[in-house]
Symmetry: D5
Subunit: 143 residues, 10 copies
């Protein structure tokens, strides 16, 4: 792969082999630069996306993810639909054990909208979570 | 629907078909601009509402939600009652799998009051939660 | 009830009928203005109280709660005891399904003390909690 | 007890009878002023300790706790060991239902170290936790 | 051990005997000063690592951990791979009951990447977590 | 004055004699509960007001200020105009040495608007400010 | 003006008469939703704009400001140039006494860029600032 | 002086000789535990006081300051008056070069009140402040 | 210029013509990813740099700045010296009206070090600053 | 100088030649790990020190500063005196153009004490400060 392939919006999402498929580890992407259009009014919408994944055989390639998110820039998309569509796409190309999309949209009409959707591979179960006996420091009254 | 129907307070809550009914995904609305009256003294009260929903066949339309919350502006309403009434209304028009209302009221007499109520559709069970082995960064002692 | 009955410290806690007894909803009071005396040295102590309740037939009336908390102003009270006593009182007058008292005391001798106590009505069980697949936004390294 | 007995570092930890032994309530102490020495280099170390307890018949007396923590000032102590030793001491004098020690140490060599240890009385089980359907307010994207 | 052995990057990780092997206590290291190279472009990458461990017979020695993390400074390493490799190394030298690595990488192409991986010793089970009935203070609406 | 005169919106602002007219001291009021209407669309607007004053012979009475701010609830008012009108009113009734109004309005159309206006009595000069050689603690890089 | 004229990107900035031209008061707009293109690579850029103004005879109309900022969505623009161009435009249509533009751009190549530019009307002088003898509360060491 | 003289509320403020009268240095006291009564309604008021001083020949003794602030606990006091009275007292007993009192009062009727007053010794001038070319770190857009 | 010239550490700093030389506007770069070596011990050091500039005829090109900062990765450099050297370099290539470098270094030996240096072009004077009568919102006592 | 000379508390403060004496640049040290004794009661005191300097011919060597601050660990010292003494010492060994010491002490008797003292070389004047027309982003009402 050349060091810097040209950048352009794209509906293709590249993948690469999971370097540690023997573990159920988590990859999280934070994408604060997302914009599309409101399909009713045509006005721009902005959101902050978070993607959490437990990959199986394939991981999402970072640069193609950036170009994929860019591809919505000139499209109209309802808050609820675009969140679910991005999840569906990621599931399609990586067939992950688990994926979760969180979208936090900028305020409209005085109301903030957040949408969260997840996918679980059939038969896959998360490891029982290890809750460590640690906690945030309480600062007493004055903090 | 015209792009910008006239805005007015309204007790009607519009709905639209859930674009991804095959998933139990979450929609959250934050409504920091809520005001009504204290039914005893007539003085204005202010609150920040949060609505969390797992929709079934129908979603709440954002603009009608804004006009619905506005409709309480000239009504008297006890903290505990108005929170429950809004939940009841949302359940009535969307018949959701799950809905939760959180209301944080401004301080009165030196006391802050928060009210939280939820509804679950009969027979509906949330997916077993996936607790990912990720955590907030601890900053050691100095943070 | 007259709009503004005279205010005075009082050991009486007024109640009113729960407007939504069909639901296990939560009422939380934050009371940052609490002071009493140290029973050993007579010096003033200060604390921030939080009260969480799932009411049954009765709710706590806000103004009487304020006057009840005020009634400790001239009393001596150990941190551990006053927290438990306030819980006992609230349980006595409202017979709630659930009540929890959190008291955060100002630093004494370089040590901050926090006390938490709870009461559950016999036979009452909280609804299985609904853990929504939403999470706080991770901000990456720089946040 | 005289109002202000003389203060000095001490390995003795005083106790007093639990005023509400009928409940499994929690007492938390925050001790931000702890210092000892590194046993290898002799250099001073600093930490912030948090102690969480569900007492049984006895509670820890606050002033003696301060003097006990002070007693480490001129001792050499490894991070992992001193945390466990303080837990062992508290267990020995109060025989609590539950105790947990959290120590957050100042950065050394660019690394922050936090240690957490807990003790549970044999046969004691915590009450099933009541997870109230309340959550932190989400602030949308801009908060 | 001499007080200050010479510092140099090293792939060796020193250990010392666990001072309290009778308990499942937690040691957490925060390492905000990590840098390596992107294997594709050769450009520097930066990350903040968090290591959580329940040790068995051996603990990680702090200074060698610092030199081990330093050893990646001139190596190329994918985000997903280096996180897993560091976990594998720690498991190899300490054979812990539990270990978890969290890596938060600086933003690249407008996207923040976080990776979390964990290891559990065969047959080891975490103690059932004790969830104390305490919670963060809610500050009402204005905080 | 009776302890609790009835509360109602009012355009009257009560005053009382300045208890320390020999000093140029500052009184600041924070009023987070302000709402009026947009005069164009009729939709509700919300703002947080801050009033800073150096009084001369008269101070603003707190309860009447609350009722005065309430009096805008059913009025239409442009952001820029209402801020200036409130300043004009306060100047009219108290003839202060100095007054400053800060209004922070909730977001509209994705834009946050803040307005600040001040009044200085003719001939009045603020004392040359005393800038003490104190500063906020810098926390180094990691805070 | 109709309540809701159609929204579209526009290079026109509407104005209205300053309702309080007798005062040098400040209007601040916060515009967190700005995006344009990098003129070299074509990739999207995002920024948060702040506009501070002391108007003279004319104020900027809020809705047209939103549409003006939107008009950059499909244009290429260097960070330094677009900030100065927006300032030039605002000066041209409102001829303000003072205007300041602050643009905070999202990170590129690991570097955050902020640009600030201001315009002062010839001959205009800001009032000597009134520095009130008030300050942020210091919280001592533990806050 | 005995190590721990008995504590009681007191109107006497003790002083001790300034250890560095050759310098204009600043001493700041933060007193978050202040309570008195509203003289009209008799209800308790709470405030956080900050005292900044440039002493001349005498400094305020810390323990007597604590007992002095305690002495207001059972007194009625208007916000504006008590702040000025405390300043007057401190000036009387220490004749400082400079003193400033900041009082932040808990919310009443939805309004927060802060009062600030200062005293300057006749003929005393603060050193011209040294404004160092240092500033808080800007974090770009995402912080 | 090709869209993506190859990246490598470099001591060359590229410039481009200032697009608005008629104004004294400010460009600020935040560079959180800086690392070099301690010249005494060879151990890695990390810092966060902030560069504030009022350019004259030339601006610093962003990508070359990144490669310039990267060029220190394998060099030994004292905190005080490297900060001054970077300032000297920037002055040399852009001959700015004003430049300021702030470097915040990670903690070493329990001490955080920050260094700030600035350059002013001979004869250049900053515009008299415009201090707008706006201020941060005070939140009263409880925030 | 050997890479790691033995560490011990010391009253000696080492210096080295200022690498950029042609500029008035600022060096700031943050020292959060300071402890001494109260000379009256013998109890430990803790503080966070900040040292700001404009050096002349000499700079303070970091490691000796750490050992100097450590040397107060077993000494009794009044808050006001120790702050002034440390300033006097630093002035004595480096003869700086400017030095400022800020000490923030842990709460005692419910009161937080902060002390700030500064020294200016005779005839030295700080450069007129450059106040850049930049400011912190205002977040509107909801942030
Ligand atoms: Ca934690
Ligand atoms: Ca997390
Ligand atoms: Ca920190
Ligand atoms: Ca959340
Ligand atoms: Ca919560
Ligand atoms: Ca943000
Ligand atoms: Ca908690
Ligand atoms: Ca300060
Ligand atoms: Ca302030
Ligand atoms: Ca702190
Ligand atoms: Ca600063
Ligand atoms: Ca950030
Ligand atoms: Ca401000
Ligand atoms: Ca507080
Ligand atoms: Ca700033
Ligand atoms: Ca808020």
């Amino acid at each position: 792969m050349p060091p810097n392939p040209p950048s352009a919006p794209s509906k293709e999402l590249h993948v690469f082999p999971n370097p540690a498929p023997e573990r159920d580890y988590v990859i999280q992407f934070q994408i604060p630069e997302f914009t599309c259009h409101c399909p009713l009014t045509g006005q721009p919408d902005f959101a902050h996306f978070t993607i959490d994944m437990v990959c199986d055989k394939l991981c999402v390639e970072l640069k193609s993810l950036k170009m994929y998110m860019w591809s919505f820039r000139d499209e109209g998309a309802f808050h609820e639909k675009v969140t679910n569509d991005i999840l569906t796409k990621i599931v399609e190309v990586t067939k992950p054990r688990y994926a979760r999309i969180t979208a936090k949209w900028y305020v409209r009409g005085g109301i903030y909208t957040n949408v969260v959707a997840e996918h679980r591979k059939k038969g896959w179960k998360p490891d029982a979570p290890v809750t460590l006996p640690a906690h945030s420091t309480e600062r007493g009254l004055l903090g």
